[in-house]
C-alpha cells in the first residue's frame, strides 16, 4: 500500500517535471504510410523530420509513427498524437485526407498539414509537390532511351496525383518519340516490394525496356537490374545505389525547407492554413543526377526542359492536347489550370486502357 502510494506520487512528480520541461518545446508529429527505411517516399519525409530537428535543436521534439494504414487506423494514430500534446502534425499520404480533417475538428488548437490532399480547414493546411514537372523530364529521357518503344509504368492507386504523372511522362516521351507506347499496371499499394518486383518483371516480359514507377520501394530497380537491358528512374528518393544503370535519373522530393518553415511558423505563432504546391522552381522537386548511361544529347534535352520549367517559361501541360476519347482539352499554346490538374481523372490522347474506377 505504502509502496504503491510512493510510486504513484513519484510518477506524478516526474510527470509534472516532464510537463514543465515540455512547455516551451514545440512537439511536431509525423504520420508515415510506409517504413522510414523504404528508400523512397517515407524515407524522404523522415529526412525532412530530421532536418527540422537539426534546425531547431532543443526547441522542438519530433515524434513519428510509421506503417500507418490509410483508414481508421490513421485516425487513431493522429488522435493519439494530438492527445500526447503535439502542436503540429504532418500527415504524409493522400489517403489520410479524411482522417486528418476528422481529427482536426476535434483538436482546433493543433495544427495539421496534409500532404497531397485537397481538403482544408482553419487548422489544416495542404501541401504537395508538382511531381508532374519532374515526370516531364523523366518522360523525355524515357522517350529517347527506349528501343522497344514500350515503356512500362507501375501505378499505385488511380488518384489524380498518379494519373497526372502518367499523362505528363507520356506527353513528353511522345514528343521526342512518336512511336512510344505505355503499358500501365496498377499495383494498388504504395509499398509492397514483392508485388512491385513482380509488376516490373511482368512489364519487362511484355517488352518494356524502360520502367517508370509511382510506388515507393526500390524493388523495380532490382528487377530491372536482374533483367539487364532495362532502365529505371528513382522515385521520391534518389536511389543512387542503383546507378549508373538501371537507375539513370530520379525525381527527388525535398520536404525539408517546407517542414522547417512550417515548424518555425508554429514556434513564432503566425501559422496559417495555406495551400502549397511547389515544383522544380522552388526546389521541392529535385532531379537526381542523370547518369552516364544516358547519351550526352539526351541529357542536354532533359536538362533544357528542367531549366525551362524551373524559370517558368514552359508548362508541362501546354496545348494542343486532347483527351483520350479525342475531345479537346488544351488549345494551341494554352496551359492547364491548377484546378483541372488537381482533379485530373482522364488519360490524354494516345494512352491505352482505362483508369480503374
Amino acid at each position: 500500500m505504502k509502496l504503491t502510494k510512493l510510486l504513484t506520487s513519484a510518477a506524478m512528480a516526474l510527470g509534472l517535471a516532464a510537463g514543465a520541461a515540455m512547455a516551451d518545446t514545440t512537439k511536431v508529429g509525423f504520420v508515415y504510410v510506409g517504413p522510414v527505411g523504404d528508400g523512397g517516399w517515407t524515407y524522404e519525409h523522415d529526412q525532412g523530420r530530421k532536418a527540422v530537428e537539426a534546425e531547431f535543436g532543443d526547441q522542438v521534439e519530433t515524434v513519428y509513427v510509421e506503417n500507418v494504414a490509410e483508414g481508421p487506423d490513421a485516425e487513431r494514430v493522429m488522435t493519439q498524437m494530438a492527445l500526447e500534446g503535439a502542436d503540429l502534425i504532418f500527415t504524409t499520404s493522400f489517403g489520410y485526407m479524411d482522417p486528418t480533417i476528422n481529427v482536426a475538428k476535434k483538436f482546433p488548437n493543433v495544427k495539421f498539414e496534409h500532404a497531397t490532399g485537397y481538403k482544408r480547414a482553419d487548422n489544416v493546411s495542404t501541401y504537395s509537390a508538382r511531381f508532374y514537372e519532374g515526370r516531364a523530364v523523366q518522360g523525355t529521357i524515357a522517350g529517347h532511351m527506349t528501343e522497344s518503344n514500350v515503356v512500362g509504368y507501375i501505378g499505385s492507386y488511380p488518384i489524380p496525383e498518379v494519373v497526372r504523372g502518367i499523362n505528363s511522362a507520356y506527353l513528353h516521351a511522345k514528343k521526342v518519340n512518336p512511336d512510344v507506347q505505355f503499358k500501365i499496371v496498377w499495383a494498388f499499394t504504395w509499398f509492397d516490394p514483392a508485388k512491385e518486383a513482380d509488376a516490373a518483371k511482368v512489364l519487362i516480359e511484355q517488352g518494356a525496356d524502360v520502367i517508370l514507377q509511382h510506388t515507393d520501394s526500390t524493388a523495380p530497380q532490382a528487377a530491372a537490374q536482374a533483367a539487364g537491358n532495362v532502365i529505371t528512374f528513382g522515385q521520391a528518393s534518389d536511389m543512387a545505389e542503383y546507378g549508373p544503370k538501371p537507375r539513370v535519373s530520379s525525381i527527388i522530393d525535398d520536404w525539408a525547407p517546407y517542414y522547417i518553415a512550417r515548424t518555425k511558423a508554429v514556434i513564432d505563432g503566425n501559422w496559417e492554413s495555406v495551400d502549397t504546391w511547389d515544383g522544380i522552381g522552388a526546389g521541392m522537386v529535385g532531379i537526381g543526377e542523370i547518369s552516364d548511361a544516358v547519351p550526352a544529347d539526351v541529357k542536354e534535352a532533359a536538362l533544357a526542359i528542367k531549366a525551362s520549367i524551373a524559370d517558368g517559361s514552359y508548362h508541362p501541360f501546354t496545348g494542343p492536347v486532347k483527351k483520350q476519347d479525342g475531345s479537346d482539352w488544351l488549345a494551341e499554346g494554352e496551359t492547364a489550370d491548377d484546378g483541372t490538374l488537381a482533379g485530373m481523372n482522364f488519360y490524354v490522347e494516345g494512352l491505352e486502357g482505362d483508369i480503374p474506377q
Binding site: 517504413p35 499496371v185 520501394s217 526500390t218
Partner: protein, 306 residues
C-alpha cells in the same frame, strides 16, 4: 487488348517464383499446427529470416549460406515463442502476435545498414539439354535450387506425416496431448521441435523474398505474406499437397492479374483482387465432403500435471 503479349511459359515460371515463399512458410506452419500449436508469428519469423539471410549472404558472398542462416534465425526466434507458450504456459495467440511485432522491429533494426545493398546472385540451375527444351525447360528445369527444395519439402512433410512413426506421434500430440502424454510421449519436446521446424521454414520463405524474388532488403518487405501463409494452412485443411496447390493458386492470381493489366485486358482489378477469396470459397465447398478438420488440441496449452 493484346493477349499475345502474355507468354504463358514465362507466366507459369514466374508464378512458381511468386508462390515459393508462401509455400515454404505454409508448410512449416502446417507442421506446427499438426502438433497442436498455433503460431501466429509467421510474418515476424519470415521478416527476420529475410534480413538474417540477406545479411549473411552479403557478408559471406554465398546465397546458400544466407538461406542456412535464415533458417537458423527463424528457428531461433520461434524458440522464444516456444519458451513462452510451452514452458511459461502463455496464451498462444497473444504470443504469436507479439512475435510478429518483435520480428518486424528486430529486422528493421538489424537491416539499417543493408538498405540499398545488392545481394550476391543465386544462379538458376542450368541442366544441359533439359533446361533448353521449349516450354518444359523454363517451367521445370530453369529455376533456383530453393524453389525445388520447397517442392521436395512438401513431399517429405507429406510422407513423414502420413507414413513415418515420428509423423504419427506428432499427429497424436496434436489431436490429444493428454493421451499422447499418457502413452509416454514427450509432448513438450515434440512441440518444441515442430515449432522450430516451422520457424526454420518461415525463415527460408523470408530469405527467398529478400534474396531471390525481389532481391534486396527493405523494411517490412514481406508485406503480409506470412498472414496469407496462415490462411493457406486452413485453406489446405492441414494437407501438404493442398498447401502446394493453394500457394500456386494464390501466387498465380497475383502474377496473372498483373500480366492481364499490362496486356490491357479491361477486367476491373477489383474482381482479380477478390479472386483468391472466391477460389478459396469454391475449393472449400468442393472439399466439404472431406471431413478432415483442425487438429483437436490446436491452440490449447499442455501441462503434465493436469
Amino acid at each position: 487488348m493484346d493477349l499475345s503479349a502474355i507468354n504463358p511459359v514465362l507466366l507459369i515460371a514466374s508464378l512458381m517464383v511468386a508462390a515459393t515463399p508462401l509455400l515454404l512458410a505454409a508448410i512449416g506452419e502446417l507442421v506446427v499446427e499438426k502438433s497442436g500449436v498455433l503460431n501466429l508469428g509467421v510474418e515476424g519469423m519470415m521478416i527476420t529470416g529475410a534480413i538474417a539471410g540477406f545479411a549473411v549472404a552479403v557478408e559471406s558472398g554465398s546465397p546458400l549460406l544466407g538461406f542456412v542462416a535464415a533458417a537458423i534465425a527463424g528457428a531461433a526466434l520461434s524458440v522464444l515463442f516456444a519458451i513462452l507458450t510451452q514452458f511459461a504456459q502463455a496464451n498462444q495467440v497473444a504470443s504469436g502476435l507479439s512475435l510478429t511485432l518483435f520480428g518486424l522491429g528486430l529486422s528493421a533494426l538489424l537491416g539499417q545498414s543493408y538498405v540499398g545493398v545488392k545481394p550476391p546472385q543465386m544462379g538458376d540451375i542450368h541442366i544441359p539439354v533439359l533446361s533448353d527444351l521449349p516450354v518444359v525447360g523454363p517451367i521445370l528445369f530453369g529455376h533456383d535450387i530453393i524453389l525445388y527444395f520447397g517442392i521436395v519439402l512438401t513431399a517429405a512433410v507429406w510422407w513423414v506425416l502420413k507414413y513415418s512413426r515420428i509423423g504419427l506421434v506428432l499427429r497424436a500430440v496434436g489431436e490429444n496431448h493428454d493421451a499422447a502424454h499418457a502413452l509416454g510421449y514427450k509432448v513438450l519436446k515434440i512441440r518444441l521441435m515442430a515449432i522450430m521446424f516451422g520457424g526454420a521454414c518461415a525463415g527460408l520463405g523470408g530469405a527467398y523474398i529478400s534474396l531471390i524474388r525481389v532481391p534486396q532488403w527493405t523494411e517490412g518487405m514481406t508485406a503480409g505474406i506470412g498472414w496469407i501463409a496462415l490462411a493457406l494452412v486452413v485453406f489446405a485443411s492441414w494437407k501438404p499437397w493442398r498447401a502446394l496447390l493453394g500457394a500456386y493458386l494464390f501466387g498465380g492470381v497475383t502474377v496473372v492479374q498483373l500480366n492481364l493489366q499490362a496486356a490491357g485486358v479491361a477486367i476491373p482489378v477489383e474482381y482479380l483482387a477478390m479472386s483468391p477469396y472466391l477460389i478459396t470459397i469454391i475449393v472449400l465447398v468442393i472439399l466439404s465432403a472431406d471431413k478432415s478438420s483442425a487438429p483437436a488440441s490446436l491452440g490449447r496449452n499442455f501441462h503434465a500435471s493436469r
